[in-house]
Symmetry: C2
Subunit: 177 residues, 2 copies
């Protein structure tokens, strides 16, 4: 299919989806998180077509989520391993897994549990929080123009409030029920 990219949208979500929004990509990240490193292990664990896998791995390497390094110095055979950037995505993967547990399987049907290795207890549910640790309901979250906002974004999200010195924004948009 013809397909547009999102990279022109001034939106961090669109940028992120341009990198990891393709079919199979996030499953490959999960698999790498599980410790899989070799091409054919990705292939057999996921059941993905080899050409698609080759394409996805290349893109992930190009985008800096995976590092491709020879098995032994000078060897042709390589391993794929998560970079820091890729590892940072695992938060998203875990949030999605938990969402799947809550809404697709019931909590008691989930195939895998994530535990805190130091205590053996299950981990907490990933939540949006205030700086002081309070869990935030979506209604408590407001959207304001960020430091890199362009005119259109300011127009959509911003309502300036006169204040001494720096520009301040009043919250206009927030969670719509």
């Amino acid at each position: 299919m013809k397909r547009v990219t999102f990279d022109h949208m001034r939106c961090s979500l669109a940028q992120a989806l341009d990198v990891i929004g393709e079919w199979w990509t996030l499953l490959i990240i999960r698999e790498a998180y599980f410790g899989t490193r070799r091409f054919s292990d990705f292939q057999s664990e996921l059941g993905i077509a080899r050409n698609v896998l080759a394409d996805r791995l290349d893109r992930l390497v190009a985008n800096g989520l995976l590092r491709k390094e020879p098995v032994a110095p000078g060897a042709r055979r390589a391993h794929y391993r998560l970079t820091e950037k890729g590892r940072d995505l695992v938060t998203v993967v875990i949030a999605l897994v938990q969402w799947g547990d809550r809404w697709v399987y019931g909590e008691d049907e989930r195939p895998v549990s994530l535990i805190d290795r130091t205590t053996g207890e299950e981990i907490d549910e990933v939540r949006v929080r205030a700086r002081d640790g309070r869990a935030l309901d979506l209604r408590d979250i407001g959207l304001v123009p960020g430091p890199g906002a362009d005119a259109a974004t300011r127009d959509r999200f911003g309502e300036t409030v006169a204040e001494s010195g720096a520009v301040r924004w009043r919250v206009r948009r927030h969670m719509a029920a």
Copy 2:
């Protein structure tokens, strides 16, 4: 293209991706979170093709992430609004936005800021935490078979530990650097 679905994989991530992993879907959820409700507003804000939008909205309604309700009782025109299930996904959207902010734009170039409406402060970064609130590094997270694990999953993740009464698992898999 021919395309497989992930719904046969016993994995909550695959299930979640089957629902929200398609091109455009998460952007539609974001847009709904921003307060967009009408077909043509989704269309013009996102620049998505109308037939694709119609298809995505239908699927999101069928999967229970959006509710379609008439603008006025008895009216033919309708609004699309997030359900609880859809609203619960916003955690994932925010985690992805923050990832995009960290790795695509710099923190200081991000177009939108999320703030705690009660204090006006920016929200915290979404993180994986232990029950007691400690932020967990990926190396601290272990994977063990969940209550709904099948034989293959137990085989992959489980290593039983003899213990009085209930089955316990020893952590075998965890974050691979």
